[in-house]
């Protein structure tokens, strides 16, 4: 017996993407396997590690804890959607390079989404607020220190640019 397929239409990084999905297909699997947006990483697949974080209607969520069918009619931003329109790195992404905020890179897409969501709502976060914002994202390489520095640096650079 074949599984029922549900039609979905989702705005992903500004583009409308449509497909037919089985209800049990997770949002992250749809993004990676159907749209080939492999920037979003799959870690634990049960909501612990944060690697799969994406923005849903502007709020960071875990894409392994949502079915793709639930995103129908909504707006998703993945790590691919953070770069500048010309493909160059965003200020936040560049700050991660600058402060060595990544080593193996596995947690990085989730860290970027979590920190970008923070900066969107709070352009001048304190260290405690940064640590709280990335508290749901596990990193096994950096010890978090350089990630916190990256977000701080990005906030300062964005503030400077705005002047």
């Amino acid at each position: 017996m074949s599984e029922t397929l549900h039609p979905i239409s989702v705005e992903v990084n500004g583009k409308r993407r449509s497909s037919q999905v089985p209800a049990r297909l997770s949002l992250v699997d749809w993004l990676r396997e159907d749209l080939y947006l492999t920037g979003t990483h799959i870690g634990c697949e049960h909501g612990i590690c944060g690697a799969c974080s994406v923005m849903l209607d502007g709020e960071s969520v875990r894409s392994c804890l949502m079915y793709a069918v639930q995103a129908d009619g909504h707006r998703v931003t993945t790590v691919e959607g953070l770069a500048n329109p010309d493909g160059s790195l965003s200020v936040l992404q560049d700050s991660f390079c600058e402060t060595h905020g990544l080593q193996c890179g596995y947690c990085t897409p989730g860290m970027l989404i979590a920190s970008q969501a923070l900066l969107n709502s709070n352009p001048n976060p304190s260290e405690a607020q940064i640590r709280d914002a990335i508290g749901g994202n596990l990193c096994r390489c950096t010890g978090y220190q350089q990630i916190v520095e990256a977000v701080r640096l990005a906030a300062e650079r964005i503030a400077k640019e705005a002047k």
């Binding site: 074949s2 599984e3 029922t4 397929l5 549900h6 497909s19 037919q20 999905v21 089985p22 209800a23 049990r24 297909l25 997770s26 699997d29 396997e33 159907d34 749209l35 080939y36 697949e45 049960h46 909501g47 944060g50 974080s53 849903l56 709020e59 960071s60 969520v61 875990r62 392994c64 804890l65 949502m66 079915y67 069918v69 639930q70 129908d72 979590a114 969501a117 709280d132 914002a133 508290g135 749901g136 994202n137």
Partner: protein, 301 residues
């Protein structure tokens, strides 16, 4: 680019039928038709991982995320009413609600992480009824009331009746949690507090404690409520012990006695993270800490 055949890919959850309900009535109707084999999908922060691990495999999922009528926060004179599918982050950010029922934000500070609170709902956490979860404890301590709706009608259950065991509520399979009524205390000098110990912040609590205290202008307690999570099969409240605090000045010795009496009544389980004995020890320490913190807040009002 889209793969033509989904049958050859590995999917974590077992297959299920899915419907996005447009209204509470439609959700109730689907539950009535599919009975035990159906399950409501709210924020999915507990249900989806359980389905990924195939600990549960409902045949039918009724998605209630798009039902606008389940998403609201209404502040009334002596209460706050919250729609069951209201996201936890919405409650957390609501200043006026926090003024009325401060324990909610205090509890939410310990719930998961930003990403899970952005998606997780108030009703979902209550209906999941994890005995160490924070919102069920807040509901038990404040005596929240749950409005349950089914195709047959509506009924209201007190938190005490609602939580019937570990991950078990008195909800029938055809019922949908519609809204939660949180009583607000009107005394001017009211304070509340929530605290817990877990392996890492955001994990489930080994033991959690919540308290709310009201005092008069002379510093005498006029009402007290407190409870413990992770110390039994359901979140626990101790109304009889709390009643003994009324009329006292809530000196440390009185507060510590009450906390100790409550801890003695608990029968926590033990696991890899914490033995039953350690949990009972934490119960006394944390209950005292929550009561003292609530008292200090009440005094400073």
């Amino acid at each position: 680019m889209i793969r033509p055949d989904f049958r050859d890919r590995a999917l974590k959850a077992a297959p299920f039928e899915y419907a996005r309900a447009a209204s509470i009535a439609e959700a109730c109707d689907l539950l009535a038709r599919h009975g035990d084999s159906a399950k409501l999908l709210a924020g999915g922060q507990s249900l989806v991982p359980m389905m990924a691990m195939r600990l549960v495999r409902p045949a039918f999922l009724v998605d209630i995320n798009e039902i606008a009528a389940l998403k609201f926060v209404r502040r009334e004179k002596d209460a706050a009413r919250i729609g069951a599918c209201t996201r936890q982050c919405v409650v957390e950010r609501d200043e006026a609600l926090t003024e009325r029922v401060p324990l909610l934000r205090q509890a939410l500070k310990w719930v998961g992480h930003i990403q899970t609170r952005n998606r997780g709902t108030v009703g979902g956490s209550l209906a999941h009824a994890d005995p160490s979860a924070e919102l069920p404890l807040a509901a038990q301590v404040l005596g929240a009331k749950m409005a349950l709706r089914s195709a047959k009608g509506t009924r209201v259950l007190d938190a005490e009746k609602f939580f019937s065991g570990p991950m078990t509520t008195a909800m029938r399979p055809d019922e949908c949690l519609e809204e939660i009524h949180w009583p607000a205390w009107s005394w001017r000098h009211t304070g509340s507090a929530f605290t817990e110990i877990s392996v890492r912040h955001g994990d489930f609590a080994m033991v959690a404690a919540a308290a709310q205290i009201a005092i008069d202008g002379d510093g005498r307690c006029v009402r007290a409520a407190f409870g413990l999570g992770g110390a039994g099969g359901t979140p626990l409240a101790f109304p009889k012990i709390a009643a003994r605090l009324v009329g006292t000045r809530l000196d440390d010795a009185v507060v510590n006695d009450a906390a100790h009496a409550a801890a003695t009544e608990t029968e926590p389980g033990g696991d890899l993270h914490a033995s039953a004995e350690y949990r009972r020890h934490l119960a006394g320490v944390l209950a005292a800490r929550a009561l003292r913190e609530a008292r200090e807040r009440a005094r400073s009002m």
